[in-house]
Symmetry: D2
Subunit: 309 residues, 4 copies
């Protein structure tokens, strides 16, 4: 299935359910896809940060893409992260993802190496030249430790090297510059990776959102984007604030026990488990699992939102 241009609406970064011995839990993954699809999301993004792509082996990554592409069966476009340190390694993932049926790949700046902006530009150009599917840039400075400048994104978009941007930088002003500059580039997709400012991003012209919390409450984000689109900003803000309150589940784990990444992913998977969508809340190594008390705190957030009885 080809990528809409631009891609709009809600594109959840799909969690990757695991068995207790950390194998891919394929039946749970299919149920999660059904849960998201039933809510009316517009596309699926596999192998992103929320998907624990950094923790999945190559074999698991391929199996995730194949499973989700097969299970959606053309009902929704599937974007796949191709997360690795540098160009040659990313290109291997791009090839696998495209072969597995991904409609597009999502690629970060190089990491581990200390890379000059000219080398970051070269990285995206080389990948775009060799990718059989469209390439979206993934701006996530908390993970890769460089920020993609708006000008570079627009320059690469103008050349046709980039089909879109997933902005997880938290820098709304920089994102706005891309959104504004991309108005003259029909087909370019400007997507926010935030859970907490989707209303603001759509108000300034973003096409869609890729919120990790949409795994837990896809209906909420679908409602939110529809309210924004219809101009009912009062109710959009109320829906966004409800989702902000729900997102506080990511503070349930004790920050002296684990990092913020595992806290967020652990909370999402625990919530999906409590909602009966995935069989195990297991997160990938070396992340620390939630305690029973932390699980209870997540449950309270879900109950408060009416998502569990």
């Amino acid at each position: 299935m080809t990528l809409p241009a631009p891609l709009t609406g809600v594109i959840p970064p799909v969690c990757t359910p695991l068995t207790p011995d950390r194998q891919l839990d394929v039946p749970s993954l299919r149920r999660l896809v059904d849960h998201l699809t039933a809510a009316g999301v517009d596309a699926l993004f596999v192998l992103g940060s929320t998907s624990e792509a950094a923790h999945l082996t190559d074999r698991q990554r391929r199996l995730v893409t194949e499973t989700v592409v097969a299970h959606t069966a053309g009902r929704l476009p599937v974007l796949a992260g191709a997360i690795d340190m540098t160009t040659p390694r990313v290109l291997d993932h791009v090839e696998t993802a495209a072969a597995a049926g991904a409609a597009a790949v999502v690629v970060t700046a190089p990491f581990y190496t200390r890379t000059h902006p000219a080398e970051i530009a070269r990285h995206f150009r080389l990948i775009a030249a060799r990718s059989p599917v469209p390439v979206l840039a993934y701006d996530i400075p908390a993970a890769v430790h460089t920020k993609l400048p708006a000008r570079l994104v627009l320059e690469l978009a103008d050349e046709g090297a980039l089909a879109g941007l997933k902005d997880s930088s938290g820098d709304l002003a920089g994102f706005r510059e891309v959104v504004h500059g991309a108005r003259s580039l029909p087909g370019f997709s400007a997507l926010t990776g935030s859970e907490l400012t989707v209303d603001a991003a759509l108000a300034l012209g973003a096409h869609g959102a890729v919120p990790g919390l949409a795994n837990v409450d896809p209906d909420g984000y679908v409602r939110l984007t529809r309210l924004c689109r219809s101009g009912d900003l009062e109710r959009a803000r109320a829906e966004q604030e409800r989702l902000c309150a729900l997102f506080a589940m990511t503070t349930a784990p004790d920050p002296t026990r684990m990092g913020p990444t595992s806290a967020a992913i652990g909370a999402f998977k625990t919530a999906l488990h409590l909602r009966g969508i995935i069989t195990h809340p297991t997160t990938a190594d070396p992340q620390i699992p939630l305690t029973p008390q932390e699980t209870e705190a997540v449950a309270k957030h879900l109950a408060g939102a009416g998502l569990i009885p």
Copy 2:
């Protein structure tokens, strides 16, 4: 070949020669191994940062280890980096490296993810439990954006999870704490990754050095470590200062054109090419190649050191 315990002396992080189309240049790699072996180094470290491990595909990584292990034919132990984001992905590289004959693996803290110290400890414990060969920790905050605390290294060493440390942090005080604490742990190898303070590291008790510049001038580092061992500190300092001057070749590339990683690796490969050891100075994508003027500046450093006519 098993790993000496402790490992001492000079252990060059072996550059990875490439052809102009970025395939592994196996004959050049063998010549580089011969060049290092002839100088009397004590072991070889493949797939480290200087080896462009971050840029090599899994296929290339395996071929590098296999080539170097086969070519050394038991004359020297070969350590292999297993550089990847998190535990499951690292374990795949560990398995490959051990199967290819590596005597030990060298493993960083997780990166890309934001990982809590307790999760870093868990990472090393899980890898040590499953690795068929000894595990050395690789402390390289410039790449992974966390610093391994000395106490954690010593705790893991005491448990038997770590056989050594390669310290590329530049923090000599922290390294000293490990060196001092490891005195009661016979067999633990404390190795500095610095090019510029090898004399200081050995003086405070380090066992060996893993300097990238030893690709270019292995004789210099072998001399330096022997002078340190024999207590001839005056001449050791002079040799170290000569090597510091040679290291200035890494400032030959224009820092407004490329990052510090590509400048250093580009200079080393250019020097190996100019010395006739490898056939091409090619670096991996997306690094920017040196210009003819930058190459000329590297040549001047080599000529000044008497390494080329």
Copy 3:
């Protein structure tokens, strides 16, 4: 004049005009105050980052506050930054500012020292206890290298230690948490320090804005806040985008010649000079002045916005 609670609307961080020998240019400062007042701004903020507070001597700081308080003559409340490294030094500035007639002081977390969150909390509590005027927290991680957590701000607000927040962090999600939490704290002022996302901040409930660019185009920001208040979001967005385009004047200076702080302040002062409001575009030491070409580029931005012929 007492501080409105909450403070709303446009509160420009007033530039500090200097003579060519870097003395305070009092007549220019008075003209700048008139220019801002005539545009209908709601308050003035002196001695903030845009005011070059970090560069002004204590004598100059006092003279700035006295001049602006005297010249506004009660027409507008004057807030004063009390920017220094730690509690005792900040308290000296608080005393001076209050004596000079400031209606409130604006205080950052400690800097230079590496300060624990519990010490940051203690800092604000001690200052609030001794300040004769209300205290607003100034969240500016780019300068002080710590981020004020939303929970801490709300806790201090709830205790009565903080009367408001000026958020220059660029983190709209964190700011939203403060805005939302402060709804139950009548009188608390949540102000954004952004030039580029004022519409978004007001839409989610911020009370006002402190944009450096309001020195150059106060009418634009007054229009923007009024359009937001009246719910005319289409025109508000257009006005905000116009101001974003004008803000691009801060990219006129060559980033290889000077830092981003001096580029922005240099551009603002150059624009005020070109508009005839201040007599000299001089910035404080050690900032690099703009070249004639860079000045010309700023002029083009002004002309494009119709602010000069």
Copy 4:
């Protein structure tokens, strides 16, 4: 008293004793000066980071310099930190320090502002041009968030703008570049700010050391530098390792309760109090004081080193 050129030996960064209500404790300060002088240190450095300069008001700063200059009465040169954000504010402190009799001033790069290297160079040049006494650069990236490049320090030294460097960066390789480059600049003082690698710094050619721990054990550092000078490296290393063990007192405070700065300063002052040299262990606001248990842990370190019974 004029500054020796170069300045050699041990130059303690003198702690600033406070009364329980945070006034300068002049009698304790005099006793501390006597304690250091009696141990045979070579100069005194007041108003550095260990002196809590960031916490002292201008009045207190002046009183410290006047007290120490008067009390040393020409027996030792007194260097004074002139720690502030930018050039004009630093110049005010330089004037005060020189008037109070300081033999030299010690100046960091600008902080709070984001300053370009060209502006940092301009900062030092302007200060040197206007300072009545020699200027030493203070490289302390943990506080000011920029690193002084070795090349810049050498360039400024060569111009005569800098009389020396106090290196608290922890980057021994960069410090070595300055030490080596400064050999052709007679009179330039290269001083390490480390407690833990003084032996290594002296071995590579540093002139002296400015270790905060020398407040607590000046005799140890005096012995260490003499052993280094006489070439007795075995015993020098043993003395350094003893001091490293003593430095572990800075880990006595609970790191979840306070930052690393207050932990170190709190431990030093507590040790001076326990040794009977200063009357109160009080630290400046907003630092958190040590608990009785933390004080007990410091006492154990002192007893272990034979510094208290």
